[in-house]
């Protein structure tokens, strides 16, 4: 049986040299999911029969000497807000409980074209709204490092599936930190690319100007390979950028000389957990020892990021989620008086509390008399936040910071206090407002055995710099080799 402790890149090498088969690997993943997921609850659905058939077909293709894709035979899990043709896509919402998309998302097409094997769909906060995966209508995902703690969110299922070594890689989406924060909480690598780098076609929209799809993996090189496969222009997403995709997997092993690592003083203020602070400061020492220069700088508008984000994201959500009206797809109430009542009843029954809260906040912020004071104001502050980063990246190549103020918080700790939950996104949200790429990688363990994540950010389309800088750190440390206790 192939060991799932190997990284995606290593598993592909094993597949290429015939050391293992995709069928055996996929079977191992499915068995591991059966054995472990009753406890972790990362998956909303698995695709056992079809994925084994797909794996077998790829094995035969490879055996016959036919050309195969870059991920040939690699089992992958996908967050359940990306459309998969013929496979349920629920957004962890009652309103889409039985939705079976008639088409594949752009990233799913790319994974299939690269001969990846889609083993299942992972849990999330409903419509990707949340920071703990507790807002799922179906189940709460638990942290493989300590099941009493959250996995973070919203892509918590995808992070946990990789952390528990149920799959070697997965996709998530990141609107305010939803890939990076769960990666940090689960001790894996998670990456949000530049806005426009990866097609959003078939990603069920939460906040369209902020959403971006990205990979989870157990190491930086595997994240680089997954990113390379899913990146690229797609005419079906009008914000998809038409520029060449670098071969991230080919350059990731090359260290950067003269690397300048920026640290923002606003990231080291009251509220930052002492162990997290110590781990992040040790990371700076690692970079110093590798010859990097540490540059202290300022992001003066940092403290406005959360307020800006929640106004913009909620406004966009209120507009995007208007499509769920009980007509074309999704839940329709059984009892209603007229057309308007059918909409309101269907939505009232189908959406969970956090989704309702954000739709309400967005509707309020966009409504007559409040638009200028809330939504327009937030768009202006967004520009100030972007300018902070433009100025910062004139002085450094990557910015290093914590991913969150604390390691994974406890289940139930913040879920009844929406504002406190929003405030927990302090370190990740600005990157979405500015549209820049970011990555989380393991940089420590707390005294209670919970992972600590280091966030690196870079200028737009500098994914290659980001990955190479991350790989330098990874090569010099052993945090990425730590796995959750059995």
């Amino acid at each position: 049986m192939p060991a799932l402790t190997s990284s995606a890149v290593d598993l592909i090498a094993q597949l290429n040299c015939g050391e293992t088969s995709s069928f055996a690997l996929t079977e191992t993943c499915l068995q591991t999911i059966s054995a472990q997921d009753a406890n972790i609850r990362a998956f909303l659905s698995t695709n056992a029969e079809a994925s084994l058939a797909q794996a077998k077909a790829i094995d035969e293709k490879r055996k016959a000497g036919q050309p195969v894709g870059k991920l040939a035979g690699l089992p992958i899990a996908i967050k359940d807000n990306m459309c998969t043709r013929g496979m349920k896509t629920t957004c962890a919402s009652r309103i889409l409980e039985n939705f079976v998309p008639p088409y594949d998302a752009g990233v799913v097409e790319k994974l299939k074209a690269a001969d990846a094997v889609l083993v299942g769909k992972t849990n999330l906060d409903e419509f990707a709204m949340g920071s703990s995966t507790e807002n799922s209508a179906f189940q709460v995902t638990r942290n493989p490092w300590n099941v009493e703690h959250t996995v973070g969110g919203s892509s918590g299922g995808s992070a946990a599936a990789v952390a528990a070594r149920m799959v070697p890689g997965s996709l998530g989406s990141d609107t305010g930190g939803s890939i990076r924060q769960p990666a940090g909480f689960c001790g894996v690598v998670g990456m949000k690319p530049t806005y426009g780098r990866v097609s959003r076609y078939g990603l069920i929209a939460y906040a369209s100007s902020l959403d971006q799809i990205g990979p989870f993996a157990t190491d930086v090189a595997s994240a680089a390979l997954l990113l390379e496969v899913i990146s690229g222009h797609d005419g079906r997403d009008s914000t998809s950028v038409d520029r060449p995709v670098p071969e991230y997997s080919q350059t990731v092993e090359q260290p950067l000389t003269g690397l300048r690592v920026g640290i923002a003083r606003e990231h080291f203020v009251e509220g930052l957990d002492r162990e997290v602070e110590a781990a992040i400061k040790q990371s700076f020492d690692v970079y110093r020892s590798l010859g990097a220069e540490i540059v202290e700088l300022s992001l003066p508008h940092s403290k406005y990021a959360i307020a800006t984000y929640y106004l913009i994201a909620a406004s966009e959500a209120s507009s995007n989620l208007a499509r769920f009206d009980g007509v074309h797809y999704g839940h329709r109430a059984a009892k209603f008086d007229n057309l308007i009542d059918m909409y309101s009843a269907s939505r009232g029954e189908g959406f969970g509390p956090e989704v309702k809260r954000r739709i309400m906040l967005g509707t309020y912020a966009l409504s007559a008399g409040y638009y200028d004071a809330y939504y327009l104001k937030a768009l202006k502050v967004r520009r100030l936040i972007r300018r902070d980063f433009d100025a910062a990246f004139e002085r450094c190549d990557v910015l290093a910071s914590p991913i969150a103020s604390t390691p994974a918080f406890r289940l139930g700790e913040l879920v009844n206090d929406p504002l406190a939950m929003y405030l927990s996104d302090i370190y990740t949200i600005s990157a979405n407002l500015a549209g820049i790429p970011g990555l989380s990688l393991p940089c420590g363990l707390s005294s209670t055995g919970l992972p600590i994540g280091l966030q690196l950010l870079a200028a737009p389309f500098e994914e290659e710099t980001l990955l190479r800088a991350a790989r330098m750190f990874e090569r010099a440390t052993e945090w990425h080799t730590k796995t959750p206790p059995a």
Partner: protein, 99 residues
């Protein structure tokens, strides 16, 4: 701004958002949204009169393509997730009142 959020306003917003909420939800959201709106007042510290709003970060203006006929979803696939159809159309309750 800054006047406290009332249950009446929350009820009105729920109607605009087409969300049927229970009395309990209306009470809870009045409190919780009030807290969030109180928090976002923070932005008023900043003078943004000379700042252009930034709706999105992509350096893209209009994206055009040729107006060509291309394949689209077959009708059966488009209707496959609908709560109610007659096999040809989406079926909704009567929209116009009887005259």
């Amino acid at each position: 701004m800054a006047e406290p959020l009332t249950k009446e306003t929350v009820t009105k917003v729920a109607h605009l958002a087409r969300l049927k909420l229970s009395e309990t939800e209306l009470d809870l959201f009045t409190t919780q949204l009030g807290q969030v709106l109180g928090y976002v007042e923070l932005l008023n510290e900043l003078d943004t009169t000379a700042v252009e709003p930034m709706a999105h970060v992509a350096d893209i203006a209009n994206v055009f393509r040729d107006d060509e006929v291309r394949p689209s979803l077959p009708r059966a696939a488009a209707l496959s997730n609908a709560p109610k159809t007659d096999g040809k159309f989406f079926v909704v309750p009567q929209i116009l009142e009887e005259g």
